[in-house]
Symmetry: C2
Subunit: 184 residues, 2 copies
DNA sequence: TCGCCCATGTAACCGGTTACATGATTTG
DNA sequence: CAAATCATGTAACCGGTTACATGGGCGA
């Protein structure tokens, strides 16, 4: 069986949740797995085309009056097989997450301490904003998708985001208060 | 002033730590900021060429007997300015970190629970390995670079890695023991 | 002798974003 | 009247990895 990249499987997977068009896929992704897998139309449309060629999905074009034409994609059994096979494969390795703040901090010696502190404060604020976003999404899922069988899995991914973000915020605090940084 | 990408600044920054050739840059990066900023020769050599053209660094080719020619790069004052200016700029936004395990977990409903558990166990093992690596590097810095003025900043970045990895491991444990997952 | 270390470099490729083009309808 | 929403798509570009080419020295 042909190998695809993870983004292709993300699209395949999202097709199981009831959305059918490229436009809908983008919308659903933006509000559900945006925090760990963002994608753009520049990927979605060509990928759907490819998936149709490979018969992992079928296409039906429907014309709607007053609205642009719409292509509806549906998973084939071949598509479901491919998705399920991918799901069970363990990941090869945990990828390195690039972090611009750490990169700047790494060269912190070439900068007055107050600038470093400002950088950390700014980062902390951004992380706190992100944490808030996670909490908001979590509430939305709990109220709007209480009976959705997918919901529990979505909450797991949010919990991951909250925990790692909280740890990063704690690190900001610890570093901001580190005597090695403040008493130079 | 021209804008460069972060990798270019990473190279610029690493040139302040005493290494001079492309080969040395790669080596130092592999053992110091590899955990949050990996790069390959395919980026290093063309970037150094560009930096020399833009006069942020100077080049001197030295021939060594018994060894291949070697190009030594040195920061110019213009290069130092560019680096310092970049250092103080706050980051635009915290980037989305793609996570293949979360992506698979998100579609966990289409998989038997035991497979999901296996995926999580595997992930946890990999994270524990990474945590160990961080601890090892930390010890190495404390013993080999005790008096290096850069060392404290390096330790901050390691602390970040340790904290966020530990949080991810905790999440694995919590999810593995979550009754929503184990009693289906 | 095999493979690693030193050392530089490039071409092909991949994954992804951004900006653009098109165009009707609805909402403020 | 402007702007957003619905809807599809492509071309240019960017950042990055991988694989390859070259070639002497050195240790097991």
């Amino acid at each position: 069986m042909k190998k695809y990249n993870n983004t292709t499987y993300a699209i395949l997977g999202i097709l199981t949740t009831g959305c059918t068009s490229g436009y809908e896929i983008k919308q659903l992704m933006d509000k559900s797995l945006n925090h760990f897998w963002k994608i753009s139309y520049g990927q979605i449309y060509p990928t759907l085309k490819q998936l149709a060629e490979d018969e992992l999905v079928t296409v039906t074009t429907t014309s709607q009056d007053g609205k642009p034409d719409r292509k509806e994609y549906e998973l084939t059994s071949k598509g479901i097989d491919a998705l399920e096979k991918w799901l069970t494969q363990p990941i090869e390795q945990v990828p390195v997450e690039r972090n611009e703040v750490l990169l700047k901090l790494f060269f912190g010696r070439h900068q007055p301490t107050e600038k470093t502190l400002a950088q950390l404060e700014d980062y902390k604020l951004k992380l706190e904003g992100r944490f808030q976003t996670y909490t908001t999404i979590e509430q939305a899922i709990r109220t709007n998708h209480a009976n959705d069988p997918d919901a529990r899995y979505w909450l797991f991914t949010l919990d991951y985001g909250k925990r790692t973000t909280a740890a990063a915020i704690d690190w900001c605090d610890a570093t901001l208060n580190d005597p090695h940084l403040t008493n130079v």
